[in-house]
C-alpha cells in the first residue's frame, strides 16, 4: 500500500525533472518566432529572423566550417578510438597499459580550457599555422576518448569464440576483424561517431584556443554575438541547431532500435 505513494512522488520527480530540462529549449524556439526586435517583448509570430539568416554570409560560412570540422574529426576519432578500445580490451596487460588507460580516461573529465591551452602551446612550439586542421586535431583528441569508452563497453560483452572460429577456419587476422569483429561492434562505433560529431559541433573553448584565421566555427561566431546579450537572430540560429540535432538523435535511436530488432546475431541471454 505504501507503493502507490512512492510512485506519486516518483512521478512528480520525473515530470518536474523532464520539464526543467525541456522548458528552456521550448521557450528558446518560441522566442525565435517573435516578430519584435526586443527579445523580451512579444510582437506576434514571424519567421523574419530565419529569412534574415540566409543573407548573413559569415554565419553561413561558419556553419559550413563547423559541419566539415565535425565530419572530419568524428571520423578520425571513430577510427583512433576503436583501435584504442581494441587494444585496451584484447591485449591483456601490455607494457605501458597504465599510461595508455590514463591518457584515455583523463581527457574525459579534463576541463576544456586546459586541453585547449595545452594544444595551442604545442602548435605554437612546433610552429604550425593554426586553422582548420589544428582544430580538427584538437577535436579528434578530445572525442576519441569518448569513442574508446563506448566501443570498449561493447567489446567486453563480445563473444570471442566467433573470432576464434574464423581464425581456426583459416581467416587472416585482418579478414577476421573485417568480417566478424567489425560488423558486430559497428552499432557502437556508429553511436560513438555521432557523439564525436556532436561534441565537435558544440565545442567553443577548445576551438577558440586552437583556431586561426579563416576557421571561425559556428560556436565561436555565436559566442561573440551573444556574450553581450540576447539577440533575435541568434534565437533563430540556435533553434535551427536544436532542430537538426533533435532530428538526428531521434533518427539514430530509431535506426538503432530497428537494427537491434533485426537481431545482431543471437547472443544467448
Amino acid at each position: 500500500m505504501t507503493m502507490r505513494r512512492v510512485s506519486a512522488f516518483n512521478l512528480a520527480a520525473i515530470v518536474v525533472g523532464i520539464a526543467f530540462l525541456y522548458l528552456p529549449i521550448v521557450l528558446l524556439v518560441i522566442y525565435s518566432f517573435n516578430a519584435s526586435r526586443l527579445v523580451a517583448v512579444w510582437g506576434g509570430w514571424s519567421t523574419r529572423w530565419y529569412t534574415e539568416l540566409v543573407d548573413d554570409a559569415p554565419l553561413v560560412d561558419s556553419a559550413l566550417i563547423s559541419f566539415r570540422l565535425a565530419l572530419t574529426s568524428a571520423t578520425a576519432a571513430a577510427v583512433l578510438g576503436t583501435l584504442a578500445a581494441l587494444a585496451l580490451v584484447r591485449f591483456g596487460r601490455f607494457r605501458g597499459r597504465l599510461l595508455f588507460a590514463a591518457m584515455i580516461y583523463a581527457p574525459l573529465v579534463m576541463p576544456e580550457v586546459i586541453t585547449g591551452l595545452s594544444l595551442l602551446l604545442l602548435f605554437v612550439a612546433i610552429a604550425v599555422d593554426r586553422g582548420f586542421w589544428t582544430v580538427a586535431i584538437a577535436h579528434t583528441t578530445m572525442a576519441m576518448c569518448f569513442v574508446t569508452v563506448i566501443v570498449q563497453s561493447r567489446l567486453v560483452d563480445f563473444d570471442t569464440s566467433l573470432e576464434e572460429a574464423a581464425m581456426d577456419l583459416g581467416a587472416s587476422p585482418l579478414r577476421t576483424f573485417l568480417s566478424v569483429t567489425l560488423p558486430l561492434i559497428l552499432p557502437a562505433i556508429a553511436a560513438a561517431w555521432m557523439l564525436a560529431f556532436a561534441l565537435s559541433l558544440d565545442d567553443l573553448v577548445i576551438a577558440s584556443f586552437t583556431t586561426g584565421p579563416g576557421a571561425t566555427t559556428l560556436p565561436i561566431r555565436i559566442y561573440s554575438e551573444v556574450r553581450l546579450g540576447v539577440k533575435p537572430e541568434m534565437n533563430a540560429v540556435c533553434s535551427i541547431m536544436v532542430g537538426v540535432v533533435g532530428i538526428a538523435v531521434i533518427a539514430a535511436s530509431l535506426l538503432a532500435k530497428l537494427s537491434g530488432a533485426r537481431g545482431v546475431p543471437a547472443r544467448v541471454r
Binding site: T2, V6, F9, L11, A12, I14, G17, I18, F20, L21, P24, I25, L27, L28, V39, A40, L80, L83, A84, A87, F91, A102, Y105, A106, V109, P111, E112, V113, I114, L117, S118, L119, L121, L122, V124, A125, A138, T140, T141, M144, S153, V156, D157, S172, P173, D202, L204, V205, S208, Y223, V226, V230, N235, C238, M241, V242, V245, G246, A248, V249
Partner: protein, 301 residues
C-alpha cells in the same frame, strides 16, 4: 600467422598510443615548461624558447632560464587565490545541488516499468546533445530582467519588483545544474536500476520506516553511482568557462575564466600556463579517483 597477428597488434596499439602521447601528454609537459618561463614581447611571447639547433647546449640554456616567478606571482596576487576558491566553492555547492535534484529523478526513472525506462533515459540525455552554448543562451533569454521567469514571478505576485538574475552566482548555479543534470542522473540510474528490490521489501517487512530504508539500504547500495556522478560533475565544473562567462558577473571570475583572460586578454601565456598547472593540481586527486573507478568498472564488465 602468429607473426601477422603480432604485426596487427602493434599497429592497433601504436597508432592511438602515439596520437595520445603527441596530442595529450606532450602538450601537457609544454604547459608545465611554459609556466616556468617569462613573458616576452616576441613570437611566441615567452622566453626561453628551446633552440633545437643548439642541441644539448640549447637544452641546458633552456633549463637555466626557467624559474618559479609565475607561481610566486600567483601566490602574491589575491585575484588568483580568490578565483581558485570561488571555483571550488561553486563546483562543490553545485555538485551537491545536482545530487539532491538528480537523485529523485534517477530513482523515479529506475522505479518505472521497464519499457518506460529506456524512453525516460533518452529524454534525460537528449538535451545534452544540443550545444552547451545554446542551452546557456536559452537561460540568458529566460533570466533577463523582463524575461519569462520574472513575468511569471510578478504575475503570481511572488515578488513585487522583478529581481536581477543575470550576472549573479544564482544564475551560474542554475546554468550548471541545468547543463550537468544528465551527467549526475545517468550514473545514479545505472546503479539504482540494478538495485535488488527484495532487499527493500525485506527491510519494510521487518518494520523499518521508509526514510530509514532509504538511508540504510538504498543510499549505501547506490554509493558507487553517487561517487561516479559527483566526480563526473565536480571535475569539469571547477574548470567551467562558458557558464560563468555568460551567466555570471564580471567581478570574481572562476579559474577557467582567469586562464582565458590571462591568455586572450593579457596575452600573458606563462601566467595562463601557471594557472592551468594549479588547476590540474587542484583536480589531480578527484581525477585519479575517477580513473581508478572507471577502469575498475570497465574491467569488471
Amino acid at each position: 600467422m602468429k607473426q601477422e597477428q603480432a604485426f596487427w597488434r602493434q599497429l592497433v596499439l601504436r597508432i592511438p598510443y602515439l596520437w595520445l602521447l603527441a596530442f595529450f601528454l606532450v602538450p601537457f609537459l609544454i604547459v608545465l615548461k611554459i609556466s616556468l618561463s617569462q613573458t616576452a614581447i616576441a613570437q611566441p611571447p615567452y622566453t626561453p624558447v628551446l633552440d633545437a639547433a643548439a642541441g644539448w647546449h640549447g637544452l641546458a640554456a633552456l633549463f637555466a632560464g626557467l624559474s618559479l616567478d609565475n607561481y610566486v606571482l600567483l601566490g602574491s596576487d589575491p585575484l588568483y587565490l580568490l578565483s581558485c576558491l570561488k571555483s571550488v566553492e561553486i563546483a562543490a555547492f553545485a555538485t551537491l545541488l545536482l545530487l539532491v535534484i538528480g537523485y529523485p529523478l534517477a530513482y523515479g526513472i529506475a522505479r518505472t516499468p521497464r519499457r518506460w525506462q529506456a524512453v525516460l533515459v533518452l529524454l534525460t540525455v537528449l538535451p545534452f546533445w544540443t550545444s552547451l552554448l545554446i542551452r546557456i543562451y536559452a537561460w540568458m533569454n529566460i533570466l533577463q530582467r523582463d524575461g519569462p521567469l520574472n513575468d511569471v514571478l510578478v504575475a503570481f505576485s511572488i515578488v513585487k519588483e522583478p529581481p536581477v538574475w543575470l550576472s549573479t552566482d544564482t544564475a551560474i548555479y542554475i546554468g550548471i545544474v541545468y547543463s550537468y543534470l544528465p551527467f549526475m542522473v545517468l550514473p545514479l540510474y545505472a546503479t539504482l536500476e540494478k538495485l535488488d528490490e527484495s532487499l527493500l521489501e525485506a527491510a519494510a517487512d521487518l518494520g523499518c520506516p521508509r526514510w530509514k530504508i532509504f538511508w540504510l539500504v538504498t543510499l549505501p547500495l547506490s554509493s558507487s553511482g553517487v561517487l561516479a556522478g559527483v566526480l563526473l560533475c565536480f571535475i569539469p565544473i571547477v574548470g567551467e568557462f562558458v557558464i560563468p562567462d555568460l551567466l555570471g558577473g564580471s567581478q570574481s571570475p572562476m579559474i577557467g575564466q582567469t586562464i582565458w583572460m590571462e591568455f586572450f586578454g593579457n596575452k600573458d601565456w606563462p601566467a595562463a600556463s601557471a594557472v592551468a598547472v594549479v588547476l590540474v593540481c587542484l583536480l589531480v586527486t578527484p581525477i585519479v579517483v575517477y580513473q581508478n573507478q572507471a577502469m575498475r568498472v570497465a574491467e569488471r564488465e
